[in-house]
């Protein structure tokens, strides 16, 4: 009964979305306020209807209602409650429901919080947002309905893929979707602006918080996914340049570019058509990610159940929305007025370089990910593009970007003084050299790449800290004056400082791990010893135990350093009988400076077990850096100006204030 209710709610949501697409759009064209007014309650009603459908599906999972096909195929009565719930989005149909739920949530949020939005813009934004909803609700109802029944109902379900039965992965998809789908908001604003034929600083001010929110969620989502791959797959690495990882990374890169170019529109009324294009492309890349995962055109460890019909449908949606938006772009963008002028050496110039480099970075990932597809279609040849390609192309683009990140924020708007900015960078240079020399001293016998990496991270941290210190007049004014300046600083300034510092910390982690990771593989019987990076590991014993829905072997490994006891870790190897699938649960001993990572392989008492040990230096810094970026984004998001979408006049004043601060 409840499943049918969910099904009905989904149909209702589709009808509401149809109304929300058409009526406000027509109203905005006629300037009819009562018709435009339909958008707000419709957005709310659509969200509630989808929430009911989502709740109904969750209910079916929690109560293990195996008469619903979707539940029977992806759940099991013995599964722990958390994974019954996360199982809702651990499959194609359920994840699409989550997708439209988040889509409607963003529409609902704009309807509720966009009080200051001009009525025509608001009506058009909500209409475009609802049209995406129509497409995907139609997709669900026609090809991927999760509420279909099964008669007779099986006694038990087929269980969720054991790799997905993990707390990290329970929250990875919702975060990722918040990011992917969040960029739909930037897209809707861009298309609405193209319909209006007007882009101004106020527009950018309204777009930025949504883009920022999506960016924060996507950053968190990718981090969670990478963290999961690190500890669950048992391969010791944290990023594999897998097509599906790349599919989430591309919108992140272009979304980061969008965040920065929107600043230029907001502060200087320039770069308008470029920003619109970025907003369209960022969402296009998000949709492409959804398409690539579900159509099976690329090989990946992540692929959902592959179905050509679904693939074609999503591709049709992609072509309709992105193609349509790009046609409008081609028609409208040329007539957009050019905004404020500026010199090449200026904050705007710096942000343009940022956008260029991030676009090139996106393009390299795009080419590397899709090259096998293009080659197969044209010549029938099969190739796979792996980490060496990305290391050779992506990293060189990142180096100038990081160099620029320290300089850009120190340049003034309109016309910057490069030599003045450079003279303020002495601290960055000093920190960069100090760290570089320190790393060289630590590992002088090895290639120079990590030295360069750390020097870059030091440069970025130094430049970012100096910029912040100068802004509040630290060491120049009295401390009390600096503190009061710091209090008055907008939160977005803190956000930027934190996000850039987070990246610097991330770089340290990534560089250290790729340069100095050490790995040992042994076949160990009980009491056997080995050593990795100065630590001694001893396999104490291996127990056979029973989990809630799996069997497991759990090893006890004692870690010692110079004979002193450090810790005891318990790597596991699980076997899930329903899916006939083994998983590894690596044991990780983490300190601020490194992880000791132990993974238990196949084996037996007589033959011994395969034991893999890694010493992964600074890997916690990768997660810490990402977390700091997320927190920075959140702080920036809480900025009052973003929250209320302050009108343009005030914005103008702020520009002048910022300018004054920098001149001072």
């Amino acid at each position: 009964m409840i499943a049918e209710l969910g099904h009905y709610a989904l149909v209702l949501a589709l009808l509401i979305a149809l109304v929300q697409t058409t009526v406000p759009l027509y109203g905005a064209a006629r300037n009819d306020f009562s018709l435009m007014g339909v958008a707000q309650p419709a957005a709310t009603a659509q969200f509630i209807a989808i929430a009911i459908a989502f709740g109904a599906l969750t209910h079916a999972y929690v109560t293990s209602d195996f008469s619903v096909i979707n539940v029977a195929e992806n759940s099991h009565s013995l599964k722990p409650l958390l994974y019954k719930i996360s199982g809702v989005w651990g499959n194609h149909e359920g994840s699409m429901i989550l997708w439209v739920l988040i889509l409607a949530l963003f529409g609902f949020a704009v309807a509720q919080f966009g009080v200051h939005l001009p009525p025509t813009l608001k009506a058009r934004v909500l209409s475009v947002q609802a049209s995406i909803g129509v497409a995907f609700l139609g997709f669900i109802l026609l090809t991927s309905n999760p509420f279909l029944r099964l008669d007779p109902a099986p006694i038990d379900g087929r269980d969720l893929n054991p790799l997905l039965q993990d707390p990290g992965l329970a929250f990875h998809p919702p975060m990722l979707y918040l990011g992917y789908v969040g960029f739909s908001m930037a897209f809707s604003f861009a298309v609405a602006a193209l319909i209006e034929g007007r882009v101004d600083p106020a527009w950018a001010r309204w777009v930025r918080p949504w883009t920022l929110a999506a960016w924060v969620a996507l950053t968190a989502g990718i981090t969670l996914g990478s963290w999961w791959a690190y500890y669950e797959l048992g391969w010791g690495g944290w990023w594999y340049w897998d097509p599906v990882e790349n599919a989430s990374f591309m919108p992140w890169l272009s979304g980061t570019a969008l965040l920065h170019s929107a600043i230029v529109v907001e502060k200087r009324d320039a770069l308008k058509s470029w920003t619109i294009l970025l907003a369209i492309l960022t969402f296009a890349l998000s949709l492409m990610g959804t398409f690539l995962v579900r159509s099976g055109v690329l090989t990946s460890v992540h692929a959902f159940a592959v179905d050509p019909e679904r693939g074609l449908y999503i591709l049709a949606i992609l072509v309709l929305f992105v193609g349509g938006a790009l046609i409008m772009f081609a028609l409208r963008a040329p007539s957009m007025k050019l905004g404020g002028l500026f010199q090449p050496i200026s904050r705007e110039g710096g942000l343009i370089m940022n956008n260029l480099l991030l676009s090139v970075a996106t393009a390299t990932v795009f080419i590397g990910t899709l090259y096998p597809l293009f080659l197969d279609a044209t010549t029938g040849q099969k190739v796979s593009v792996g980490p060496p390609f990305f290391n050779a192309t992506f990293v060189p683009v990142m180096i100038p970007l990081v160099l620029l990140m320290a300089i850009g924020p120190m340049l003034a708007w309109k016309r910057g003084d490069l030599s003045a900015a450079m003279s303020r960078l002495w601290f960055a240079v000093a920190l960069s050299f100090a760290i570089g020399i320190f790393v060289f001293w630590l590992h002088s016998d090895e290639p120079l790449a990590p030295v360069i990496g750390f020097a870059l991270a030091g440069w970025l941290a130094g430049g970012t800290l100096k910029e912040f210190a100068d802004r509040i007049g630290l060491f120049r004014d009295q401390l009390s004056k600096s503190l009061s300046k710091a209090r008055r600083l907008p939160r977005s300034a803190y956000g930027m400082t934190m996000a850039h510092l987070g990246l610097s910390i991330f770089i340290c982690g990534a560089v250290a791990d790729s340069a100095w990771r050490t790995e040992v593989v042994i076949n160990a019987k009980e009491k056997d010893k080995t050593s990795v990076a100065g630590f001694e590991a001893q396999l104490e014993n291996v127990d056979r135990l029973e989990g809630p829905n799996y069997h497991l072997e759990r090893a006890t490994v004692i870690i010692r350093k110079n004979g002193e006891y450090v810790t005891r870790v318990f790597p596991e190897r699980r076997f899930y009988p329903v899916q006939q699938m083994p998983t590894t649960e690596a044991a990780i001993h983490t300190t601020l400076l490194a992880d000791i990572y132990v993974s238990l392989g196949e084996g037996s008492k007589g033959q011994g077990w395969t034991l893999r040990l890694w010493y992964n230096p600074l890997i916690p810094w990768i997660w810490a850096g990402c977390l700091i970026m997320v927190v920075g984004g959140l702080i920036s998001l809480s900025d009052r100006r973003l929250r209320i979408g302050a009108p343009f006049k005030q914005a103008h004043k702020k520009v002048q204030e910022n300018g004054l601060l920098e001149d001072a």
Binding site: W235, S273, L277, I280, L281, A284, F291, S295, G296, V297, L298, T299, V306, P308, G311, L312, L315, L318, V319, V322, G323, L326, I327, F329, A330, A333, P334, L370, P372, L373, F374, D376, A377, K382, S384, N523, G601, E602, Q607, G608, T610
Partner: protein, 182 residues
Amino acid sequence: MRKLIYLGPLVFFMTTAVYFALPIIKGKDPRILPSAMIEKNIPDLDLPPLLETKPGIDNQALIGEIQLVNFFSSWCGPCRTEHDFLMRIGKSNIVPIYGINYKDKQKAAKKWLLDLGDPYERIGRDVDGRTAIDWGVYGVPETYLIDKQGRIQYRHVGPLSESIFKEKISPVIKVLRKQTNG
């Protein structure tokens, strides 16, 4: 002219979309990697032995018997997952397995066989990976089924398992045995 630039993104996007549509319309599954070598004679090879106790592999060794040729390396994780199954085939005498040790250090490969067991009839060393290129190896592990005449009959990319063996390889072996008997 300037207006045409604004059409660029659209043209680029539509071209990409066509490439997305092609494999779906043609009904291709990218996970299937067909071998260009099927039904062809094995390429020339003459590989030195890995172990002192077992001979290496040359063309002569691969003719006259239905057999599996398995490319493996001690550094390859998936090879480890299939190893237990290879051990079982090796013990059961269903079909002999010839191992080609791909781009590996001799010491590491020996230790691997010592630790995990040796399922192979003969093992040859492909030190520079030249043989793998001749065979069109996509990545280790990879396994080929060779008939009595020394022709490649089936290729499997990735680790072998019981179910893959039963579904994909075993039926081909049966057909081949029938052909030669009848």
